[in-house]
């Protein structure tokens, strides 16, 4: 295994973890806003706030970890992606600010539960995947021009690309699906029957669009990036496995059984699909300009980063375990029996 592969695998893993934890966070915010809109707010708010409030900062760090890490391992990405993503990334930052400030001002602070704020917070959860996911489309190539050695984004090509829009739709559907499955489990653990029924319904509703758009994207790639499409097909068995796991989740949710296992299967489904996609993208970080080899940092930095990563993980894993034990797996806390907020 080369240093390049280790580097990109670590980053891809953290991006995957971000996709899962952020989807839960984004989707929950949207469901919260939707139930406020349809006057069912009391059903979800308690559940959502008990889980989200203590962990959202941790969620955000996964994102920071990814973009700091990719500059560390592959500094040249700063040049290509940094220059071209100014506008979309700035918009994503503003949306993240909406979410962060909602936690700061509305849940920790003076409990501002103004409707407008709840809606903004909820909508930001849908707009964020829509703002971030086009990067995946950009990485497929064809949307970036090099003028005088300087990259710039071809907005017209991007916004008229069916591939880009499919990815956006998939990201939104996936956010809602992942979140709904997780919340079904969490609400069930909390013993809240009404909330469980509600989010279970959402999970079933969003399962279909998720799998349909995901399949659609594979076929759109055939026209857009045949090279990538060919390597995707080589990994067909991973996608098949992912699909089986998807069926498992839907079956369990449908039968109202083993919500915990259903969520684990869902993580497995996304894990296999995400890594199959990532592996088929290899070696490109950006078709056709940038591969993980020509953008890689020097060897001494790579080794230093990997050592720092292992040491950091040694510190983090026990802390994360403690956090989850206290807030995710503690029955009294999940059920809302104990509230020890400062």
């Amino acid at each position: 295994m080369t240093l390049e592969i280790i580097g990109i695998s670590v980053l891809w893993l953290f991006l995957f973890l971000y996709v899962i934890v952020a989807s839960i966070d984004f989707g929950a915010g949207f469901f919260n806003a939707y139930s406020a809109f349809s006057d069912k707010q009391h059903i979800l708010t308690g559940i959502i706030q008990r889980y989200l409030s203590p962990v959202w900062e941790v969620t955000n760090v996964f994102f920071v970890f990814f973009f700091v890490g990719i500059i560390g391992f592959f500094p040249q990405t700063a040049f290509y992606y940094g220059t071209t993503l100014l506008v979309p990334a700035s918009i994503a930052l503003i949306l993240l600010a909406v979410r962060g400030s909602y936690y700061a001002f509305a849940t920790y602070g003076a409990k501002i539960d103004h409707r407008g704020y709840i809606y903004m917070y909820g909508l930001s959860g849908l707009m964020l995947p829509a703002a971030l996911s086009p990067v995946l489309a950009i990485s497929e190539g064809g949307f970036m021009r090099l003028e005088g050695g300087q990259p710039s984004l071809d907005y017209w090509a991007l916004f008229t690309s069916p591939l880009m829009w499919s990815i956006v739709v998939l990201s939104i559907a996936a956010v809602l699906y992942i979140s709904a499955v997780f919340l079904t489990w969490y609400a069930h653990k909390a013993g809240d029957i009404k909330a469980t029924q509600l989010v279970r319904k959402y999970a079933l509703v969003w399962a279909g669009p998720t799998i349909v758009t995901a399949t659609g994207i594979i076929f759109e790639l055939r026209g857009h990036n045949p090279e990538h499409y060919a390597s995707l097909l080589d990994l067909w068995w991973m996608f098949a496995l992912s699909f089986l796991l998807f069926l498992g989740t839907v079956f369990l949710i449908w039968k109202k059984r083993n919500y915990g296992l259903a969520f684990i299967l869902l993580v497995g489904q996304f894990f296999t699909a995400f890594f199959a996609y990532g592996a088929s993208h290899y070696p490109y970080l950006l078709y056709p300009h940038l591969t993980i080899y020509d953008s890689f940092t020097n060897e001494s930095m790579a080794i230093a980063l990997i050592i720092a990563f292992i040491a950091g993980l040694g510190l983090l894993l026990p802390s994360l375990y403690l956090l989850f034990r206290l807030f995710l797996f503690d029955k009294d806390y999940v059920k809302g029996k104990s509230d020890y907020h400062a």
Partner: protein, 447 residues
């Protein structure tokens, strides 16, 4: 937009983000230590007031941390968005501390979440107190790592340039540049000092508003003592910073001091205006610059005449330097008077006008932080990486930076107002007198 314009726009946006972020970052680094000390004093003295003090500070702190997370994510991403060429180069050499900073913050965020949601969950208060240690350590470590990156920009080392390529990169050598000891110490001590003054301001504000509760008096005395300790530390470290600058970045010191000709027995110029190369209406302290730079009046201080004209920082940084130093001196003096006065029972410390001054000390300390960062950043110009890359070379070529300035300016205004409104509303709804009374009636219970 031309190339120069984009660089200027990128500088404006970075300056805006950093100036806003540093408020939250300073509080984020300093306040955990204050909470820790208050809670520790409370446990040791079995004094409910100090414990409640820690708890109420923690409630406000979490709001500033949340906003700080937002602004911190913004600056983290903007580094790559606005300075892609610089980050491409720097990424090869100084990525390690940036990476470690994320872990430090990760660590802090996890334990802050646990700390906040476990008040009164433990039988033994000391267990809950222990959770604060990783929060304070993580916060301090974050600032150490980020300051290391900034130090590298001021005194780059740990690599060679061969035909435009970076070779012989040593990440550890790059991390421990000569700027590190003074810069890191200065950032930490001023964060503790400023946080102590801000918390003192809050207590003074309550006392001015007519409360005469012993709770606020305890808070004021505790925070002013801490402010004094860290002001003195800051002054001592400031002296070392002067010596660092004289040795490694003489052009920054010379521009700050309007020191044009290399020479010994140099005088320190405070304020004034510049007429050609002649400072007018300034306060001049003989030998002081030589002493600041080398510790002896005969020390030779390098002047601006030793540098090419296009490598000299803007001369207006003189005012930033003076603002920082003057405020620092005043705050050290003021906290000294307060602590001695409170200890000896002088009546002036309880006078209205004196409390007004106390209330001002927090904002003044924050102003000094701003002046200090502006000084060090503008004072590094025209370099983004001193001696290797000019700021204009590091900037993006994207033409939309001006639009982003408007967008982020709006965001920061909203976040700033939001913070003030939410904090003041939160404490107003639940004044300490009310909370103390409640705790008396339900002894030992949670909320």
């Amino acid at each position: 937009m031309g190339f120069e314009d984009t660089a200027l726009m990128s500088r404006i946006l970075t300056l805006m983000t950093l100036s806003f972020h540093i408020i939250y970052a300073t509080i984020g680094v300093g306040v955990p230590l204050m909470i820790m000390i208050a809670q520790w004093v409370g446990i040791r003295k079995k004094d409910e007031h100090y414990i409640l003090l820690a708890r109420r500070w923690a409630r406000g702190f979490v709001i500033t941390v949340a906003v700080g997370v937002v602004t911190g994510t913004a600056i983290g991403l903007q580094l790559s968005l606005l300075w892609p060429n610089f980050m491409q180069m720097a990424g090869n050499v100084i990525a390690l501390p940036l990476f470690m900073e994320v872990f430090a913050f990760f660590f802090e965020a996890i334990f802050l979440g646990i700390y906040l949601y476990t008040w009164d969950r433990f039988e033994d208060q000391r267990k809950h107190f222990l959770l604060l240690i990783p929060v304070a350590l993580g916060a301090a470590a974050s600032s150490v790592f980020i300051t290391i990156v900034n130090s590298f920009m001021n005194a780059p080392q740990g690599f060679d340039v061969l035909n435009g390529e970076l070779v012989n990169v040593s990440p550890l050598l790059a991390m421990f540049s000569p700027a590190v000891p003074t810069k890191v110490a200065h950032v930490l001590s001023t964060a503790f000092m400023t946080s102590a003054f801000i918390l003192a301001s809050i207590a003074a504000f309550r006392l001015l508003r007519g409360s005469n509760h012993i709770y606020h008096k305890k808070a004021l005395f505790l925070t002013m003592k801490l402010a004094l300790v860290f002001s003195v530390a800051t002054a001592i470290i400031g002296d070392f910073s002067g010596k660092y600058l004289a040795e490694y970045q003489p052009e920054k010191l010379a521009a700050a001091e309007w020191h044009f000709e290399t020479g010994s027995e140099a005088e320190l110029v405070l304020f004034g205006v510049l007429d050609g190369e002649e400072p007018k209406y300034a306060i001049r302290i003989p030998y002081a610059l030589s002493i600041l730079a080398h510790g002896v009046p005969s020390g030779e201080v390098i002047g601006l005449n030793d540098f090419p004209e296009d490598e000299i920082p803007p001369l207006w940084i003189h005012y930033l330097f003076d603002t920082m130093v003057t405020l620092g001196m005043w705050l050290a003096f003021f906290s000294f008077v307060y602590v001695v006065g409170a200890w000896r029972g002088w009546s002036i410390v309880t006078k209205q006008w004196f409390r007004w001054l106390t209330m001002l000390s927090g904002p003044l300390a924050m102003l000094a932080i701003q002046a200090g960062w502006w000084f060090t950043e503008v004072g590094r110009q025209p370099w983004i990486l001193r001696g290797y890359m000019k700021t204009s070379e590091g900037a993006t070529t994207s033409g939309q930076v001006d639009l982003m300035i408007v967008l982020f300016a709006g965001l920061y205004v909203i976040l700033g107002i939001g913070t003030v409104v939410v904090l003041s509303r939160m404490y107003k709804r639940n004044p300490v007198e009310k909370e103390l009374a409640q705790r008396e009636s339900v002894k030992g219970g949670g909320e």
